[in-house]
């Protein structure tokens, strides 16, 4: 990076002079033997924030900034990662039907979901362990999101206390919640979120047990921690990020049920009844996140919940589950407009979001993409990334010739799911 030259130009300190000398010596054959046998070569220059053109541009920079095992934790997914790949593939099975007649300036993209007004149907999905990406973690994400006028779903087990995150910015905010069997603890947690200003509660109902992120398991050998590996062979514990507030059952289980198969019992106890119980003391709307079938979506409506998020946890729940985009139509049809249907999973471009809106989504949540922004450039990165997606959304919507979200219907896309 030419750093040695620059230092001389500004007048060397004793330390810098020594460093420069060391640099010269490093070229000698004597010292070569001591050198890193695998130097980082090739790409020398790190692009700046103003050079980011698409969401994808942020990922390599985030990658370079983040501890490898923690990058892998974010990027990877369950088992074969079939579902992780399928989430992205599904966008190739849906084409926008182009139609002239809409200028980007004339587009109406604002919407309202459960009382929250937003300029674009875009939100931040709840993701654990944001400390991996930036020292200000969820607070920095919230600042970036608010600067881009994007509502954020704050992860339940945030690495910064929710009260502190709440002070970092002013944009609309929901809180995510992983059920814990103890109703008293559930109530205390939910009341904390409400008191901190959460305007809805997102209850995650998928990822019922160990996730089996195979790369994470390998990373035991790269200094990563296997998350609750069972007997060194089973798999990682369900997502907790770091410093989770409990939740998984810690007591040694007798040899029956899941333990017979080295399966972590974790959240295998989930029931609809539990959700009815927490609804009794929850004062804000409740959305269920992780719904993938029309049958479950219908149950959400019948049992009086306020919204669903079609999600496979970014490929991190059941391997060989469907992509979210391909099941969106059946869920939208099952819900019949009675409650909002949000979706996440693999959204990286404005056109991806337009496709989901055309298939009937109420809004789209972004998981990994804003994490790339945060890891690459902090809150400014989050803001810039969201603005790029907003601009892309306008362009893609204009191509469909629709000027309002209401007009963006299924005829705006050609669907080739099998």
């Amino acid at each position: 990076m030419g750093t040695i030259d620059n230092r001389w130009r500004h007048g060397p300190t004793r330390r810098q002079a020594l460093l420069a000398l060391a640099g010269m010596l490093a070229g000698s054959p004597l010292l070569r033997a001591q050198r890193d046998p695998h130097p980082i070569t090739g790409h020398k220059r790190v692009p700046g924030l103003d050079e980011m053109m698409t969401a994808f541009d942020f990922e390599p920079i985030c990658f370079a900034n983040v501890v490898l095992a923690r990058y892998e934790y974010m990027a990877r997914a369950s088992e074969s990662e079939f579902t992780l790949r399928r989430n992205r593939e599904a966008f190739e099975w849906v084409d926008l039907v182009e139609r002239p007649g809409a200028a980007t300036a004339a587009l109406q993209t604002s919407t309202e979901v459960l009382g929250i007004k937003m300029d674009f149907p875009i939100m931040i999905a709840p993701t654990a362990a944001q400390r991996d990406l930036h020292p200000d973690a969820e607070s920095a994400m919230y600042q970036g999101a608010s600067a881009a006028k994007t509502p954020m779903i704050v992860v339940g087990r945030s690495t910064i206390p929710i009260e502190k995150i709440a002070q970092a910015a002013t944009g609309p905010r929901w809180s995510q919640f992983y059920p814990v069997q103890d109703l008293k603890i559930s109530r205390e947690t939910i009341e904390t979120f409400q008191a901190a200003g959460a305007r809805a509660l997102v209850v995650t109902v998928d990822q019922q047990t160990d996730t089996g992120y195979e790369r994470d398991l390998h990373n035991r050998n790269l200094g990563g921690t296997p998350r609750g590996a069972s007997g060194g062979r089973g798999g990682g514990a369900p997502e907790q990020g770091r410093g989770g507030r409990g939740g998984g059952s810690a007591a040694p289980a007798p040899m029956q049920g899941p333990a017979l198969y080295r399966v972590i019992p974790a959240r295998l106890w989930y029931t609809w009844k539990y959700l009815d119980d927490i609804r009794a003391f929850t004062k804000i709307p409740i959305l269920l996140k992780g719904i993938l079938t029309a049958e479950d979506a219908k149950l959400c409506v019948e049992r009086g919940f306020d919204g669903v998020i079609v999600s496979n946890h970014g490929g991190r729940s059941m391997d060989y589950g469907p992509s979210t985009l391909e099941v969106l139509p059946e869920i939208v049809d099952a819900v019949g407009g009675k409650i909002p249907v949000l979706i996440d999973g693999g959204f990286r471009r404005g056109s991806d979001i337009v496709k989901a809106m055309a298939l009937g989504a109420s809004a789209v949540c972004l998981g990994r993409a804003p994490r790339w922004g945060l890891g690459a450039f902090g809150p400014q990165g989050v803001q810039r990334l969201l603005e790029i997606l907003q601009a892309e959304f306008l362009e893609a919507m204009a191509r469909t010739g629709r000027t309002t979200l209401a007009a963006l219907d299924r005829r705006a896309v050609r669907v080739n799911f099998t």
């Binding site: 994808f56 990922e59 088992e79 790949r85 198969y261 391997d319 589950g321 099998t418």
Partner: protein
């Protein structure tokens, strides 16, 4: 990455090379490779690229590359990774007898997982011919196992017993059935080829050694004890083997409704839907399973084999109505790689991922599975 156990610095070094080159995010970003998402390698799962590459005879080291490292057993996280280690351990000709998988049929089936179904009382057990099995998994018959590991079938049954799993012993075993049976703590079945002239004699020895079920493989022509091509099932030969036996008979190699009906007519209590590990081209066993279950599933026990490598693969067969799945090559990979302990690891990994996916799909046991839990996708033309 050039090796599984790399230092962080090495990992960063090699990964940095990838950044400079093909990039991370895949198809879409400018100048990025065809690798989607985080798939740095493009290989399914994390992969053990370490032990891929030119296949080496034992003790031979390719010029210019560092000697391959055999990772400690518990570094491996899925059954497929055992294949890489097996390849490392075996001469190429031996490895070729257990190489590969056909994954296409599995990739055309996705799940429809149901949420909020409690599965804390998870129970994968299944009853087969009066015997309770911990999980719907059996080790399938494989001939001549000493070529994969010095202890051969003895290590296989020890590993399978440790994993509480039954084994189908091949009549072409490299260790006498009585010695194998002496090591087994789980039910043994015995497998003969209908085409084999000495089949009935072998069956009598196996019964004497305590085998509980006789599995007769039909429709395969033999070469050195291995199926090499598909031939019409020889029901007369089955009938000769069956005479006077009071053990349950299972016919292995059924791929059509006609053969399933014929097996019933022969008095079989079960069938294994199988194409002899892909020797026969055409539809995969998983693809014909549902129609065969519909036809005969109420009358006899339907088992299946063919490229089952993951817990989700097994779950798909169970959803279609199979009672259990046979694993052959993956168990041999475990055997070749680590002996009895490798066999145990492979089976336990599959039990665990199967159990985990019962939790994910919302089914506490085999009875709660139904076909609305999967979606079969048409082949995509590209």
């Amino acid at each position: 990455m050039s090796n599984l156990k790399v230092s962080r610095r090495e990992a960063l070094g090699s990964v940095a090379g990838l950044i400079a080159g093909p990039g991370l995010s895949g198809v879409e970003g400018p100048g990025l490779s065809a690798v989607e998402g985080p798939g740095l390698s493009g290989v399914e799962g994390p992969g053990l690229s370490a032990v891929e590459g030119p296949s080496l005879a034992r003790g031979q080291v390719a010029k210019g590359t560092p000697p391959p490292r055999r990772p400690p057993r518990d570094e491996l996280v899925n059954a497929l990774e055992f294949e890489d280690v097996a390849k490392l351990m075996l001469p190429a000709a031996v490895y070729s007898t257990i190489a590969g998988s056909d994954r296409a049929a599995f990739d055309r089936i996705t799940f429809r997982p149901r949420m909020l179904v409690p599965t804390l009382d998870l129970d994968l057990s299944v009853d087969l011919f009066g015997e309770k099995h911990l999980a719907p998994i059996l080790v399938g018959p494989v001939a001549e196992q000493r070529q994969y590991h010095a202890e051969g079938e003895l290590a296989t049954v020890r590993g399978a017993s440790a994993a509480k799993t039954g084994v189908i012993v091949s009549s072409r075993s490299s260790v006498p059935i009585a010695e194998i049976a002496a090591q087994a703590k789980t039910p043994l079945w015995y497998s003969v080829y209908a085409a084999d002239a000495s089949a009935r004699k072998q069956v009598d020895q196996a019964i004497a050694a305590g085998c509980k079920v006789v599995c007769v493989t039909v429709g395969a022509s033999l070469d050195a004890g291995r199926a090499t091509s598909k031939v019409p099932a020889d029901w007369k030969a089955v009938d000769r083997i069956r005479q006077g036996l009071d053990l349950p008979i299972v016919i292995k190699g059924v791929m059509t409704p006609e053969d399933a009906n014929a097996a019933i007519a022969q008095g079989a209590r079960g069938i294994v839907v199988s194409n002899h590990g892909g020797v026969v081209a055409g539809r995969a066993p998983l693809e014909v399973l549902a129609s065969i279950v519909d036809l005969v599933g109420a009358k006899i026990t339907v088992l299946v084999d063919g490229s089952f490598r993951r817990g989700t693969d097994i779950l798909k067969a169970l959803v279609f109505g199979a009672q259990a799945v046979l694993l052959a090559r993956p168990v041999m990979w475990g055997l070749a790689a680590y002996g009895a302990e490798g066999v145990q690891s492979v089976i336990e990994l599959l039990q665990t991922t199967l159990g985990r996916n019962f939790g994910m799909i919302g089914a506490p046991n085999l009875k709660s599975l139904n076909r609305a839990m999967v979606k079969v996708h048409a082949e995509r033309k590209t």
